[in-house]
Symmetry: D2
Subunit: 368 residues, 4 copies
């Protein structure tokens, strides 16, 4: 969960925990489908379980935050597939079916939907787990009940009508966890600072300034994106983890480049950039005033100041019927999208995404 | 929780647990207000705690279900007040302030609102507790966070803007618990059967048929409503509990009156009347068809059949701005109702109550 | 748990919970043995599960407390067997094997040992459950680990060497739960008062005094023991429960017999007899002094005073190697009793039972 | 918990969690003493809370494992005191009393005993926390009950007689956690491998071979012990953490020194040295046979092989009355050591430490 522990100190659970948890829920879901007479062969079960165990294997250090900046264009799903393929070679094809399911090329599409869909076991695990470890009890969902209500109709994963309140609750919890945890101001600030640190290191490197992380794998990815022949460098990528990044940041606290060293010191000493989130656009005059102060305070140029002041947009959608498909199978056998069911809390006025603008800036009056 | 344990076997928690829990939350809430500098004297604290400890003291056996039928017009709140007054006499006025708070005659109205309002500690405890003991995890609310966000503005209890998602979640959980637990079909059926049993016993008694429960206090309230001079009979009422009712029902399984004995046998042996809940009105022809079958099956008259077939309405409102007042105090100091806040899940289309019609009937084909 | 809720208000869990829990553990244990290659047929699994589900069916109201007084000599195990046999007749022999297992007449003895042995799932469930609902966290045991370590050797249930610390902990927890919960002074006092109430009611009845409970089944067992032809009265016994006893006690609060009415009032109003537990024998002079005070205070004879003052012995054994057999199978394949294993906490000096003497008496100075 | 997560994947809780937890228990304990009328001033409370919050501040990376090897002779308690003194200078003496308490120079000795004694809040927190995060439920202790039973008599912390079973359980749990978690074979092996890696790095450095970690602070402590003027280097020590060590180990996987690189690869790839624990001494012939195989397999000298094969002793004492003092205050006011109390589980035969011998070696047949 990257920097969520800065707000919720308990949130130190790991990707291993999540993978084991999602695997456990997959076992439960497959059992449930079995009990309902939906044909799943033993081989398909093993393949689906292998796929969910490995679904996040491609995450690099600090997951989403550094994904775009360390390896251009390669998503963690792409890398997960590369890793599965590498393992599949070693295992002489034993992961063939798992890879087909994971890439949605297997004919029983509901198996893919269990791994990556609106009601997949991935989300059910991470919402439950993140809620537990942060202590944000509003995020609790009835995953066991939802799993009990899963069914397959015309090859598609759907839920029985009785589950409608549990699904509503699931969507409301997800919405809440976004604002309360994943997009929390402090978490956002720390993540953006991390991104800026890596950006600056790369900028310096391309300008010929020496910046060694002292981790040979981190150096490797800082110097070049390696996106072109990424699969040649998979072993190195797999060795790279949070420890390399955090250790480098500590080293860079005394780097000669002021921008890099200040950002690193601020992050390590937990003196984070200030964040404001609001529905309205950020006032341009305010931005310029703050920027001028920062330039003066740190002795940096207007351009360089962008490492210490910047704006952006945080978006959260409760349920978007145009993209998402949570299908309810009614008692009479017909199928409806959850947004069309009578009395549903989740309806079209909630469907549009909620956007918030944010500004992140160094508070020059905070004695930094 | 009356008959909820028929569906959720874990739901055997008692009113004592709830009273202690609500008392605990009251302590937390008063501490929180203290920390925010809202003046509450030590005497007021004790009074508010005493009031919440006793707020449900007036509940009779099977709470709401038998309230209207055993003592006409007397609500459990009225009886709680009678009990407090009796205790106050014995305690020489030590409960004066507690009674003022409980009856909303104390000038610091927010103390009353903590006991009986939209965000009172009563609801926070029972939602949390019922969710825990039923295992319906969707009912989990962030009571500790809501309490941390409570404040008082112009004498009224309200919540800080940061709590808005927790409040949304609280309302969604309440809505869900109603449909999933309190208005569950099986629970509804068992409660209505209990009501009919007591109704029939009273009907027979007023027709001169001998019906003794063998509990002298239960007999006392079966024979007459005693609503007029209720306070004279408070001691007897306090002795009456679920045990007397359940023990009587077992005795009545072999009563000579067929209607009474059949109802008692069905309830004890857990062969409950069937329930259908639906948005549309119940079809009149269907009702008559079922009724005719029952008359034939049991050998009872059309009028008597009403003990075994009847219809009704179950109502649940997510949030009714016309009646409820959850006030949010915004960061800029202004106050809004939760239904007026931007991006809120709880808005006017959810404000209208959801009504469902139900029919309850003896399934003559189930081998009863 | 009879009156344990007087000390631990949370302890309102029921026999149904325990039966379902023990059934759940039986499923886990059988799965575990399966995984270890110990042959158990599907029929044997169903039989063992049925047997554990029904193992406590024969418990009457207030379990052990009233067992000896309501039906002479019939233990709840005997009655459980009668109930199983009755069900077996209705089910046309489907419970044959379950009954064989339950009565230790089935050739695979380890199935019986899972139901009734030193490490049976019955104990594992009740220790865990009672610890949870009382909040006595010292009673927590590692039931899942013990189950994972179960194995069968030469037809006998035993545990692997690795489980030795978990078993030690299990025995220590059991010891602790006895002193802290099951033999708690308040619990002991309330149970003895209940026994005396029933004893007095029976004494009065045999002297020709009218004593009707509010329940025809309770009356039936009060009037006569019915031990001789007990199976003829099984239906009545099954209808009898705690509600009948508690409702009767409330009625008897105003019985003309002073001893009966005083005992009932004291119990209902929770003014319990005082208890002292000590290693030394109770001083005879003290007993006589207290007895004289009680006779004077209540106006009863020395003989009658025995309802209000009496002594007894509470016994608790941590582990008795002469009776119990917890067998450990060592890594080298040999089998030892747990008391013989090196470094074990559980050794012969702990083997002798700990006896405590108690006196229970009406405290005449407490304003009763 | 160093490498405990290799066995118990949930065990990723941090020192921050433990410090906050111990602080929480300290608050509870001080409240409890307050309620019992034991004089503790507000200043003493703050001091005791500050002391417990900082009691583990001096732990370096991997706590106990690297303590002796990174900074000769300096224990983490010594370093905690240095940190407190440094903070005290900055805070202008506000930590004076906290330091007096922590170093047992404050006249109310029981405050020190709450931080570092047989029943201190440090142990109560870590046993509870480690039990929770490992899932070893046998480690659960009744910390809240023990705290409720704490009292002070003649200036010394002791427990009331009623707590005796809870204390027994506490000692048994501690014993169990040692064998099951802290001295678990896999944990032991990984820790010893870490120690050997750091030893080898230092050995190479002192022989003039270049070995740079990725961290300038780690390099600093690898090159020299800095024990003499340690307080001059406190800032650097505070920057050093697990991340530096783990990142260095990953770099050293490709170091030119075979011993260093093999050890690092084995640890990172989780192919740990094998461990045997036994009561008897390790057979010398066996050691030599294994050693010869390793020398042959890796091409190292007999002396060098000691990095891959070595023996040692693991010691665990349930309760040592000669060193420990858990004092029980009996109802009659007299004080006894827990080992002297009647019927106690904890008596002299348990007092002697349990020693186990272990051998740790590279299994040359495991394809490493």
């Amino acid at each position: 969960m990257a920097f969520a522990h800065l707000v919720y100190p308990g949130a130190v659970h790991t990707r291993l925990h999540h993978s084991l948890g999602a695997y456990h829920l997959m076992c439960n879901a497959l059992n449930e489908l079995d009990n309902k007479g939906i044909a799943v062969t033993p081989e398909e079960k093993i393949a689906a379980k292998a796929a969910i165990l490995l679904h996040d294997a491609g995450h690099g250090p600090f997951s989403h935050a550094l994904e775009s900046i360390l390896i251009n264009d390669a998503t963690h799903e792409d890398i997960s597939i590369l890793i599965m393929q590498r393992m599949n070679d070693e295992l002489k094809g034993q992961l063939d079916m798992a890879i087909q399911i994971f890439t949605n090329r297997y004919h029983k599409q509901f198996l893919y939907q269990l791994i990556s869909g609106q009601l997949d076991v991935d989300r059910m695990d991470y919402l439950t787990r993140d809620s537990f470890f942060t202590g944000v009890s509003e995020g609790v969902i009835g995953y066991d009940r939802i799993i009990k209500m899963l069914t397959v109709h015309e090859g598609q994963l759907m839920v029985e009508e009785k589950a409608i309140y549990s699904i509503e609750k699931f969507l409301v919890s997800r919405r809440l966890m976004y604002w309360q945890v994943y997009l929390h101001k402090t978490v956002l600030s720390a993540e953006m600072m991390l991104v800026n640190i890596v950006k600056r290191a790369k900028e310096l490197l391309s300008a010929g300034v020496q910046v060694t992380s002292n981790s040979f794998v981190f150096d490797f990815f800082l110097e070049e994106n390696h996106a072109d022949h990424f699969s040649d460098h998979l072993d190195k990528f797999c060795l790279l983890d949070d420890f390399d990044v955090l250790s480098a940041i500590k080293n860079w606290m005394s780097h000669q480049d002021k921008i890099l060293s200040v950002l690193c010191r601020l992050l390590v000493e937990r003196r984070l950039l200030k964040v404001k989130l609001q529905a309205e656009p950020i006032n341009e005059v305010l931005i310029q005033t703050l920027r001028d102060k920062i330039c003066l305070h740190l002795g940096v140029t207007q351009k360089e100041s962008s490492y210490f002041i910047f704006t952006g947009e945080a978006v959260n959608t409760t349920y978007d019927p145009s993209e998402e498909r949570i299908r309810i199978i009614l008692k009479n056998g017909s199928v409806k999208d959850i947004s069309e069911v009578d009395n549903a809390l989740i309806h079209h006025t909630l469907a549009s995404p909620v956007k918030k603008n944010y500004i992140c800036y160094l508070d020059t009056e905070a004695g930094i």
